[in-house]
């Protein structure tokens, strides 16, 4: 494909935003406030910030969704490829700005991949032969030619996002904006997608704006990082400059582990910037070590204001586990869907009371099918499932659910009541709690999850994070013995993830059985639970996080990514047990430095 860029030289700005403020019709505050931004050609711009900070709103202003589809108060001007957005037509802008959205399902309309990719060109009235040529070209480029005649339901989420990208690339836009394109994908598919985007950029040279929380892959290649907060641009500059700033996590930025580790050890490159890759990191930590050794013999790396937080990780002794009773047990369970597709194959699994278990694996590995057996929503085709001593075939879903609380992934698929309070009451009434108990428990749930001020509001008025908290609160209100969290981190920002960690730790300390279904290794790793790894309906790994999540071959086969800390520890030559968090890592590094076994050169 020919180079898309129509302009020469880097001096020209392809996007110019001047004094832009926008308030959605009927809203009580501005979603964008006096935004000024210039973006040059061929830049890769990563936009970060809390949910609700205005990222999507900003992107919508680039292709005319604002003001043409969303009305409101619009001040200032936006120039895209030299054209003023407010004076263009949306269909014109669609040719310059390709927009890829978050939800793979909601941006594919047609019944075959190639028809869907052709959609934009068809709308623009391109001749058939031209459409054919371009669609084939783009499918080749994205490696999806084999999918040409597939229907949307025959695609994985990662493939759907690729089709969505192809559908905008085919119009040969100069700019591609992607609004959290990976947030519904599992990390493995997400990584593949980001790599694809970067490759396309290198081959075709378009400008990219991407809202993305996983900074580790993008920062090395991004030309710019923008952090938004409450409708304003708080930071705007080169990633290594912005990431050197302190307090970014307050803005919902998930710093790459290497950055956090460098900050913990107060390491900077000679030019004052933060190291972003392992080579730089080792270089500066070696220099740091030499300098510190030369001045006074203190332990390098250890934050002097903090006590030594590092205690050896506790490996759970086998026999101590053996003493606990079983909470859930699967015996030779197979499960097939109506259409004969096997979703679970030969599952045997014992989960003991008080255990915290993470069930991990790529999307579609069978995790959700597995947990639906625990409260009897699904019954095994062969074998049996016993939950707290009751065989699930013998009991109703309602009676099992009294003891097994499942917090489902998407809050929107369960909130229905008029008020937050009645939402919590719903299950309590179903389970026949007496009125006094209901009252107390509702109060407890509202209090403990910081939702009291919303008790009379509609659940629809809550933010995404608050809704998630409500869904957890309403399950914990009936005090189930087993708590299952299905993909708790999907769609949640860093603040919310921290709160989730606290909740899970609290449940663990109350000796509840906690089962977390997740593909999010970065979230699971610090919790160090027992890991049950699934792939294609089977359990392919079961053991402590230290063992399972550091076995790269196994993880690759199961399409799960290695935790950044494990990868980093291996790269810089730290021995097992691998550190749980950044603090532990820096202590461990200090020790290793002392012993002089630190690797100084990467292989």
């Amino acid at each position: 494909m020919a180079c898309i860029s129509l302009y020469s030289g880097n001096s020209r700005n392809i996007i110019e935003i001047r004094g832009l403020s926008f308030r959605y019709h009927g809203a009580d505050r501005d979603s964008l406030e006096n935004v000024n931004l210039e973006i040059g050609e061929r830049e890769i711009v990563v936009i970060a910030g809390h949910s609700g900070s205005g990222k999507s709103t900003l992107l919508r202003c680039l292709n005319g969704l604002i003001p043409f589809q969303h009305s409101g108060t619009y001040v200032g001007e936006v120039l895209v490829a030299g054209r003023k957005v407010t004076e263009s037509r949306m269909s014109e802008l669609a040719k310059s700005v390709g927009f890829v959205f978050q939800n793979p399902e909601n941006q594919i309309f047609m019944f075959s991949v190639e028809r869907d990719i052709a959609f934009g060109l068809e709308n623009l009235g391109f001749p058939r032969e031209e459409i054919r040529r371009r669609v084939d070209e783009i499918m080749d480029l994205l490696g999806i030619k084999g999918l040409a005649l597939r229907a949307p339901h025959e695609l994985s989420d990662g493939q759907k996002q690729r089709v969505a990208i192809a559908g905008v690339m085919v119009m040969r836009p100069e700019i591609i904006v992607l609004d959290e394109p990976t947030s519904l994908l599992d990390p493995f598919a997400a990584r593949e997608l980001l790599q694809l985007i970067l490759r396309l950029r290198n081959e075709l040279g378009m400008t990219i704006l991407i809202v993305e929380h996983r900074l580790d892959l993008l920062t090395r290649l991004a030309t710019r990082l923008i952090v938004m907060d409450r409708g304003r641009i708080m930071f705007n500059g080169q990633p290594e400059v912005i990431l050197s700033e302190e307090g970014l996590s307050n803005y919902g930025v998930l710093e790459p582990t290497i950055v956090r580790l460098a900050k913990q050890g107060r390491l900077r490159r000679p030019d004052g910037k933060i190291p972003l890759n392992v080579e730089d990191f080792l270089e500066v930590s070696k220099a740091d070590l030499l300098r510190k050794n030369a001045s006074k013999p203190i332990i390098p790396f250890l934050d002097q204001h903090s006590k030594n937080p590092y205690e050896p990780l506790q490996e759970i002794a086998e026999e101590s586990l053996g003493r606990h009773e079983a909470a859930v047990s699967f015996e030779g369970v197979d499960y097939s869907h109506d259409n004969g597709v096997a979703a679970l194959i030969g599952i045997s699994l014992d989960i003991r009371k008080g255990e915290t278990v993470a069930i991990m694996g790529a999307n579609g590995a069978g995790k959700s099918t597995l947990i639906r057996h625990i409260n009897g929503l699904l019954k095994p085709t062969h074998g049996k499932v016993t939950t707290l001593g009751v065989e699930t075939r013998m009991a109703s879903v309602a009676s099992l659910s009294r003891k097994v609380g499942i917090v489902f992934q998407n809050p929107n698929s369960q909130l229905f009541a008029q008020t937050v309070e009645s939402e919590i009451e719903f299950a309590l009434k179903n389970f026949g709690f007496p009125p006094q108990a209901i009252k107390e428990r509702v109060e407890w749930a509202l209090d403990s999850f910081d939702l009291s001020r919303y008790s009379d509001s509609s659940p629809m008025e809550l933010s995404g994070g608050e809704r998630k908290r409500l869904c957890i609160a309403l399950v914990l209100a009936w005090e189930p013995e087993i708590i299952i969290l299905d993909e708790p981190t999907v769609g949640q920002d860093s603040n919310q993830k921290e709160k989730l960690v606290e909740i899970i730790k609290m449940l663990g300390s109350q000796n509840k059985t906690v089962i977390i279904v997740s593909h999010d290794v970065e979230f699971i790793w610090p919790l160090q639970p027992r890991i049950v790894l699934m792939s294609h309906g089977r359990i392919v790994g079961d053991g402590p996080a230290q063992t399972v999540l550091s076995d790269e071959d196994l993880l690759n086969r199961a399409r799960v990514v290695t935790p950044q800390l494990v990868e980093l520890s291996k790269a810089i030559g730290l021995s097992r047990p691998f550190p749980r968090d950044v603090k532990e890592a820096s202590v461990k590094m200090a020790e290793t430095f002392e012993k002089g076994t630190m690797r100084t050169r990467t292989p």
């Binding site: 043409f68 949306m90 669609a94 934009g120 009294r402 698929s413 179903n430």
Partner: protein
């Protein structure tokens, strides 16, 4: 309920019938439909039914055909019982009515079992249906299975909160659907907002005459089949005037 979702997921077939131009398939379906409607004798009706079943076998959709026709069979049986016992009709006319009902449903399902929504869309555009209308149709068909799956998700979530959908009297059961219906509507609305944004972002509505990647072309086999169908119809009508009852 899951079968309902899979029933809407279209499979691209490979048979000779699938290779026909969708317009020819439509013609075939409509002709058989009209046949089933107008022929008077058992013999002619059986012949029509025979053609219908032969076509499904040829299209290798027999399995799905009989699955969906089990419903039609029940309907036909009810019609028979109703006509013969409750609303006394002579035996043979009750039989004819039941078989006719079966054939009518069978003939329409030929088209719908062998035609992907893509092709259906092309046919609609060929008939000059307004573009917006076609798009609404396309989106509706595309999202029916998705919404059914959404509904299943929601039911799982609410049953896990102790909701018992099957319990209680009629009024209670009706009330029990609220926790399912409300989130379902919310999800549907949010999906449609997303869709609108995605469509606008891909130049939807740029021209009133959008082009299409795929084009329907009548091959020689299509013309031949059309000729066959026309001949079939003529023969059918010719014989229809001979056989009045049997």
């Amino acid at each position: 309920m899951k079968w309902a979702a899979t029933g809407f997921l279209f499979v691209r077939g490979q048979s000779v019938i699938h290779q026909l131009d969708p317009r020819v398939r439509l013609l075939l379906s409509v002709s058989l439909f009209l046949m089933s409607l107008v022929v008077r004798s058992i013999f002619m009706l059986s012949a029509t039914l025979f053609v219908i079943i032969a076509t499904t076998l040829l299209a290798r959709t027999a399995k799905r055909f009989f699955k969906s026709m089990s419903f039609a069979a029940v309907l036909s049986a009810i019609a028979f019982v109703f006509n013969f016992f409750l609303y006394p009709e002579p035996f043979h006319s009750a039989v004819i009515l039941a078989v006719r009902l079966f054939a009518i449903i069978g003939s329409t399902s030929i088209f719908f079992l062998t035609t992907t929504p893509d092709e259906l869309e092309l046919v609609m555009r060929w008939f000059r249906f307004p573009s917006d209308f076609v798009m609404v149709f396309v989106i509706a068909v595309r999202f029916v299975p998705i919404l059914i799956l959404d509904a299943l998700q929601i039911m799982d979530a609410q049953r896990s909160r102790g909701l018992e959908l099957e319990k209680g009297n009629f009024v209670k059961r009706l009330r029990n659907t609220t926790p399912v219906i409300v989130p379902l509507l919310a999800t549907a609305v949010s999906r449609s907002l997303d869709l609108a944004e995605a469509m606008d972002s891909r130049a939807y509505g740029a021209t009133t005459r959008p082009t299409s990647l795929h084009k329907m072309t009548m091959k020689r086999s299509d013309w031949l089949t059309t000729a066959l169908i026309v001949v079939g119809i003529l023969i059918g009508f010719y014989f229809n005037s001979f056989f009045t009852i049997f």
